[in-house]
């Protein structure tokens, strides 16, 4: 089967890396970054068109760009990078060989082929149906076909990951339980299987409908099933980026989870409840009962939100515990002040954690409330929310990981370390502000997926207040700043891979953890002894207060509108 010749030992980390896994991680990560570039360019086109003073693209190009933007970054960039994470968390962290690398390659090429087919369909101009492609609006058959092929490829990747877990267990490449990061990756992969299965249930009939074999697809039923895929696919991202947070805390600080039990339980709650939430998108829909909406939109009784709030404490808590152990014990926040803010892996991680909670998390719960959805549904508030989750949450976390992973895997120095220092701030704060301005425009009722908020061609135009135009202008500026940050990231990654100076062995940074040959029995947990985390707890309470206030302020808004019953 495999022998030691198929492995290399990573000089930085001591990890035993299976060469086929190494290659697959690299190709998936690079492909992901390429699609981030493509999707990012489309996104910039969208933001600049929605900036009323610029209004860059003509209407047909705008709707085309918006469809491509959603598909390329929301799906393709994310899933390719997550494949890299799965292979990393499976083969590398467990020191195992990868199961069936050939199948993994078939999966890779199917994903790439599918992504290209759908992109071509969109660029042709006859499939500008948005990423969600609500029926009875119809795209060309290859639009759906590409997504299906892409999804099947991703499914193969998940199976390779599961197979790797089995092999690692059988060949006893690790002792005891899998690492927490791998556990998080397993969570992501399980949600991915559910997601892809639901995707097949809805997209295959839709494909058949688009070629004429199926006569009719019910538009409400389509949305119910489509969002069981659409929302769950974002939960893959959440599970994956939280696994990445734990990984970065360990890599940067040698942090141990405060409690393995709590963190794993929180992931388990994701598996059990996070795939609900199809109803987040159906709260103002006809034909569905309030009982279904309330149960589904709240993940039973907000058990997945509970899980996220737990991770929100335990991830920074593990960092605080590790820092305090190193002697940063003054006051509540010395551990945070003395953190490596100039290291893009840390600053990206920290910004991702804070903004995912404050921007993406709070807004998501607010607009996912049955009645509150009435005042946010399909307004700019919605993209505001998910740029707070997928962009400043997941994407920024993945970027932070890439700053560590790419130099380690390729054994090259970063080409622009000076620029890299600023990159997470530019991208994170730029896109964070974009998210805030979009939400602001949404509370004024500005519709999403809309080419012209001045309604110049409408027979009875609506006049938005000046503040709404201002918000969309500021959103354009913020997106430009974020775009500069994104460009620096891509330049750094591509540059490092192509022209980076090979790392000299001596240059390996000492802060990188060395993998113990045997899992050593160290002193236990981050909180062992008196290692309390008062700083993190204070921050968590600040978060809670913001959450409660913002939530009830929106009920107050709702109480003022027309009576509806």
């Amino acid at each position: 089967m495999s022998n030691n010749a198929d492995f290399r030992i990573c000089p930085d980390t001591g990890f035993k890396i299976h060469l086929p896994a190494d290659k697959l991680i690299k190709w998936n990560a690079v492909t992901a970054v390429v699609f981030l570039l493509v999707g990012g360019i489309f996104g910039l086109g969208v933001a600049l068109t929605r900036w009323p003073a610029v209004h860059l693209l003509p209407a047909d190009w705008f709707y085309l760009a918006l469809t491509a933007h959603g598909f390329d970054v929301l799906l393709v960039w994310m899933i390719f990078f997550e494949m890299a994470i799965l292979y990393f968390a499976g083969a590398v962290l467990l020191g195992s060989r990868l199961a069936a690398p050939k199948v993994a390659w078939v999966g890779y090429w199917m994903m790439l082929g599918g992504a290209l087919i759908t992109n071509i369909a969109v660029l042709r101009g006859d499939s500008s149906v948005m990423f969600t492609s609500y029926v009875p609006m119809q795209a060309a058959p290859d639009f759906y076909l590409g997504i299906i092929i892409f999804a099947v490829g991703a499914l193969l990747g998940c199976f390779v990951f599961f197979g790797t877990l089995v092999i690692a267990k059988q060949e006893k490449t690790y002792e005891g339980s899998v690492p927490l990061v791998t556990f998080g990756a397993i969570t992501a992969a399980i949600i991915a299987v559910f997601t892809i299965a639901t995707g097949a249930i809805i997209l295959i009939p839709t494909l058949l409908w688009s070629v004429g074999y199926v006569g009719h697809i019910d538009s409400v039923m389509y949305k119910v099933v489509w969002w069981a895929m659409g929302h769950s696919s974002q939960q893959i991202n959440v599970a994956a980026h939280i696994a990445v947070w734990y990984a970065l805390a360990a890599i940067l600080f040698g942090a141990k989870p405060l409690s393995e039990k709590v963190s794993r339980m929180a992931f388990l709650l994701y598996i059990l409840f996070l795939q609900l939430a199809s109803a987040h998108h159906l709260l103002v829909e006809p034909g569905l009962s309030s009982e279904f909406k309330i149960f589904n939109t709240s993940y039973a009784i907000y058990l997945a939100v509970l899980a996220s709030m737990i991770h929100g404490l335990t991830v920074p808590g593990s960092v605080e515990a590790a820092q305090r152990k190193k002697g940063f014990t003054n006051g509540l926040f010395e551990w945070l002040r003395k953190a490596p803010w100039g290291n893009p892996s840390f600053s990206g991680f920290a910004l991702s954690l804070v903004m995912f909670g404050f921007l993406g998390g709070i807004s998501g719960v607010m607009m996912g409330t049955e009645q509150l959805n009435i005042i946010t549904h399909n307004t700019m508030y919605v993209p505001g929310h998910f740029h707070g989750t997928v962009v400043v949450g997941s994407t920024l976390a993945f970027m932070a990981l890439a700053y560590w992973l790419v130099p380690v895997l390729w054994q090259r120095e970063l080409v622009f370390p000076g620029l890299a220092k600023w990159q997470p701030y530019l991208f994170g704060i730029g896109m964070g502000l974009a998210s805030v301005f979009m939400m602001g425009a949404g509370t004024l009722g500005v519709p999403r997926r809309h080419w012209d908020m001045s309604f110049a061609d409408a027979t009875m135009p609506y006049d938005f207040p000046g503040a709404a135009h201002l918000m969309m202008g500021l959103n354009g500026i913020a997106a430009l700043i974020g775009g500069i940050g994104g460009t620096i990231f891509i330049l750094n990654m591509v540059g490092t891979i192509l022209w980076g100076k090979p790392k000299s062995k001596a240059a390996a940074e000492p802060e990188k953890p060395a993998a113990p040959a045997q899992p050593t029995v160290v002193s236990g947990y981050g909180s062992a002894g008196t290692m309390a985390v008062p700083g993190t707890f204070t921050l968590a309470m600040v978060f809670l207060v913001a959450f409660v206030l913002y939530y009830f302020v929106n009920w107050k808004y709702l109480a003022g509108v027309w009576g509806l019953s």
Binding site: V220, E260, V284, I375, H450, P461, A532, V561
Partner: protein, 180 residues
């Protein structure tokens, strides 16, 4: 560390740190509050979407809308050719979505209650009442009935906020609310 197997093999018997327990308790209580706010608002709140919806053929819905317009049209909206309909207070009112208009323009009375019927005759549309910011999804073959009570007089617009093709951004309708 999170990237290595747990140091203690029997990790599930480890004690949980106090601040973690406290935070989990707080978060659980907050989750319950978040949950019960929704049924609570159904009981005491005045903004709940009804569960009343019917399957309907698009032409039937169009007929009913036209019948209302034939009966209660009071004038025309500018030179748009769209009628302004002033139906009797307390009755059934219809607004039809199609590529790319909301039809007809409605004139309602303040603090009166109406049964608003919404449906589409072609694709999915989004009923967005501005500046109230009330947003409701409109599907073909589904007729949603919502009891509405306008609480301020004025001129309102209905913008489509579900993408419905190349003319989507021109799809704007109107509702007037007048004092009795």
């Amino acid at each position: 560390m999170a990237i290595f197997p747990p140091a203690q093999r029997i990790w599930w018997k480890e004690p949980i740190e106090r601040s973690e327990i406290l935070w989990i308790t707080i978060a659980l209580v907050w989750s319950l509050i978040l949950f019960f706010m929704m049924p609570y608002w159904h009981l005491v709140g005045e903004q709940n979407l009804s569960n009343e919806a019917y399957r309907i053929k698009p032409d039937v819905f169009a007929e009913r809308t036209e019948a209302m317009a034939d009966k209660y049209t009071v004038r025309e909206e500018g030179d748009t050719g769209t009628p302004v309909v002033h139906p009797p207070a307390g009755g059934d009112i219809y607004m039809l979505a199609r590529l790319w208009e909301w039809w007809p323009v409605l004139e309602l009375e303040k603090d009166q209650t109406y049964r608003l019927h919404l449906s589409s005759v072609d694709w999915v549309h989004g009923f967005s009442l501005l500046p109230e910011n009330i947003n409701i999804q409109v599907h073909p073959e589904y007729e949603m009935v919502i009891t509405v009570t306008p609480n301020r007089a004025g001129e309102y617009s209905v913008v489509c906020n579900e993408f419905c093709g190349i003319g989507h951004h021109t799809m704007v309708g109107k509702i007037y609310v007048v004092d009795k």
